[in-house]
C-alpha cells in the first residue's frame, strides 16, 4: 500500500471538468513535482490533496486513512503568498505552528517555553534568528517564504504541499530557496508535493515529475474534458533514468 493513494479522482465545477481519471501512488518520503500549462488543473489537484475541496468522484487517502473532508494537521501547506500571519512576529508565527492546535490557541507555562525553544531552533535552521521579533511585512519575499515553510514544518505534517512557493521570488533568491528546501528535506525525509511553472525547478527538486495535460479535447466544448496526468517522469539522476543501470547490473553489458 502506498503512502498517498489517489484513486480515479474527477473534479468538475458545474459541467466544466477540470481534472479527470487521476490515479497516483506516492511512497513516503518522495518529492513529487507537478507541472503543466496554466489552467491545466495542477493547482486544483493540490487543493484536492489539501482537502480544501472535495473531488466530485474518487478518493484521496493518506496512509490508508479515510479521505479528509477539510484541511487538517496531516497536510502542511505553503502558498505563493499570504501563508504567514501578518499580525504575529516571526517567532510567534513559528510558535503558532504548535500553539494553534490547542483548545485556546495559546500555549502556557512549560509548554510555551518549550515551544519558544523549538521555535528558536527552527529560526536558526531557516536563518531568520536575526529578525525573530520583526513582523512578516518587513521581511523580504524569500525570508517570508522561508518562514512559511518553517511554520508548516513546525506543525509536523505528514505531507507538505507547496503551491508555486518560489514563483514570486527573484532568480538568485530562488536558487537559495532550492538549497534550503533540499537541506530541510534531507533532514526530515518528508513527502512533498510541489506545483511549479518552472520545469527546471520541477526536475531539479523533484524525484518524480508529474505532467498535467488534457488528453481529450472537444473543440466545440473546451470545458467538456478535464486534464489528467499524462507523463510521470522519474527525475532522479538528473531526469535520465537507467543511466547507471550498467553500474548496477554489469551482467547486462553485451560483451
Amino acid at each position: 500500500m502506498s503512502f498517498v493513494t489517489v484513486r480515479n479522482v474527477w473534479q468538475a465545477y458545474g459541467n466544466r471538468s477540470i481534472i479527470e481519471r487521476v490515479n497516483l501512488d506516492v511512497d513516503e518520503g518522495e518529492f513529487v513535482s507537478i507541472v503543466g500549462a496554466s489552467g491545466c488543473g495542477k493547482s486544483t489537484f493540490l487543493r484536492l490533496l489539501l482537502a480544501q475541496e472535495r473531488p466530485t468522484r474518487g478518493s484521496i487517502c493518506i496512509d490508508g486513512g479515510a479521505p479528509a473532508v477539510e484541511p487538517n494537521l496531516e497536510r502542511g501547506v505553503v502558498f505563493q503568498k499570504y501563508s504567514v500571519f501578518p499580525h504575529l512576529s516571526v517567532r510567534e508565527n513559528l510558535i503558532a505552528g504548535e500553539g494553534f492546535k490547542t483548545r485556546s490557541g495559546y500555549l502556557f507555562g512549560k509548554a510555551r517555553r518549550a515551544a519558544i525553544e523549538r521555535a528558536d531552533e527552527m529560526l536558526q535552521r531557516i536563518g531568520l534568528n536575526h529578525v525573530a521579533d520583526q513582523y512578516p511585512a518587513s521581511l523580504s519575499g524569500g525570508m517570508q517564504q522561508r518562514l512559511a515553510i518553517g511554520q508548516a514544518m513546525a506543525a509536523k505534517p505528514r505531507v507538505l504541499l507547496l503551491d508555486e512557493p518560489f514563483g514570486a521570488l527573484d532568480p538568485g533568491t530562488r536558487l537559495q530557496m532550492h538549497d534550503f528546501l533540499m537541506e530541510l528535506r534531507d533532514e526530515t525525509n518528508m513527502t512533498v508535493f510541489m506545483v511549479t511553472h518552472d520545469l527546471d525547478e520541477g526536475f531539479k527538486l523533484g524525484e518524480r515529475v508529474l505532467v498535467f495535460d488534457k488528453p481529450r479535447w472537444d473543440p466545440h466544448d473546451p470545458g467538456a474534458y478535464g486534464a489528467t496526468i499524462t507523463y510521470d517522469f522519474d527525475a532522479r539522476n538528473g531526469g535520465i533514468p537507467f543511466q547507471n543501470i550498467l553500474e548496477k547490473y554489469p551482467k547486462l553489458a553485451v560483451a
Binding site: 502542511g76 485556546s104 520583526q134
Partner: protein, 270 residues
C-alpha cells in the same frame, strides 16, 4: 515641476494647517464687529471676548438654583450616553461581524438582514424608541446603537471576508479549530479596523445623541443647546459647539494613538 510634486516644508505645513482656523476666526470677528457697531444689542454674532467671558462663566460658575456647574453635568451625561452607545455597538458589531465573516451559516442567516437593517433611517425610529423605552437614558443609548451598529457590522464582516483564504487554510493545516481561527487569526486582524470604525461612527453617534437629547431630555449637551436657543443665546451655543468639537477631536485622537500603539504590525506593513 508639477503641482502634485510640490511638497511644503515642515514650518510651511504647520502654517498651512493653522491658516483655515485663523481665517475663520478673522472672518467671524469682522462680521461680528460690523453687526455690533450697527446694533450693540445684536445677539446673532457675539464678539469673541463675549464668548470667552461666557465660556469662563459656564465652565467655572455653579448654577444659582442647583449649585452644580451645568456644563460639566451636561458633559458627563452626554459622554456617558455616547460611550455606552458606542461601546455596546462595538461589541455587537464585533461579534456579529466575526460570525458573518467566518461562518457560512451565519452569513446566510444574517448578512441580508443586516444590509436591510442598515437602510432603516434611525431618526425615524426615535418616536418608537421613546414610546417603548420611555424618555430616560435607555432610549438615547438605543438610538445610538441602532444608528451605528448595522454599518459597523457590515464593514467588519467585509473585513473578515477580506482576510486571504490562504491564511485560514494555513491555520487549519496547523490544527486550529474554528474558535482558535476566530480568536487568533481573525480577531487580531480586525481589531484595528474596529477602532477605525468607531472613529468613523463617532460623528454619527454624536448626531444621534444630540438629536435624541434635543427632543426629550433634562440634561446633556444637546439638550442645553436647544434649550438656550429659545433665548437666542448664541454665546452659550457657540461655547457648547466648540466644546463638543473639542471633545470629539480628543476622543478621535486618543483612538488613533491607541490603534498605533496597540497594533505595531499595521505599521510594519507600510
Amino acid at each position: 515641476m508639477r503641482l502634485i510634486n510640490h511638497v511644503p516644508s515642515r514650518p510651511n505645513s504647520v502654517f498651512l494647517a493653522a491658516l483655515p482656523f485663523v481665517l475663520v476666526l478673522i472672518v467671524y470677528s469682522i462680521a461680528s464687529d460690523l453687526r455690533l457697531t450697527e446694533n450693540p444689542q445684536d445677539k446673532l454674532l457675539p464678539a469673541l471676548s463675549t464668548i470667552w467671558e461666557t465660556a469662563t462663566r459656564l465652565f467655572t460658575e455653579p448654577d444659582r438654583r442647583s449649585g452644580d456647574i451645568l456644563l460639566w453635568l451636561d458633559t458627563g451625561a452626554s459622554l456617558r450616553r455616547l460611550m455606552l452607545g458606542v461601546g455596546i455597538s462595538a461589541i455587537i458589531s464585533l461579534i456579529l461581524g466575526m460570525a458573518i465573516g467566518l461562518l457560512p451559516f451565519a452569513r446566510s442567516g444574517f448578512a441580508s438582514f443586516v444590509a436591510v437593517l442598515s437602510m432603516v433611517p434611525p431618526l425615524a425610529l426615535l418616536p418608537i424608541l421613546f414610546i417603548v423605552f420611555g424618555l430616560g437614558e435607555v432610549s438615547k443609548v438605543v438610538l445610538i446603537v441602532i444608528g451605528i451598529t448595522p454599518f459597523m457590522t457590515r464593514d467588519l464582516s467585509q473585513r473578515v471576508l477580506d482576510i486571504p483564504a490562504e491564511q485560514l487554510i494555513k491555520a487549519q493545516t496547523i490544527g486550529a479549530s474554528s474558535w482558535v481561527i476566530a480568536l487568533r487569526v481573525a480577531l487580531p486582524q480586525i481589531l484595528p479596523r474596529l477602532i477605525a470604525n468607531i472613529r468613523l461612527s463617532l460623528g454619527s453617534a454624536w448626531l444621534f445623541l444630540i438629536a435624541a437629547e434635543a427632543v426629550a431630555s433634562d440634561v446633556g449637551l444637546g439638550y442645553r443647546i436647544f434649550l438656550v436657543r429659545r433665548y437666542l443665546a448664541m454665546d452659550v451655543i457657540l461655547t457648547y459647539v466648540v466644546w463638543i468639537t473639542l471633545l470629539a477631536f480628543v476622543v478621535d485622537w486618543a483612538l488613533k494613538t491607541l490603534s498605533r500603539k496597540a497594533f505595531p504590525w499595521m505599521e510594519a506593513r507600510l
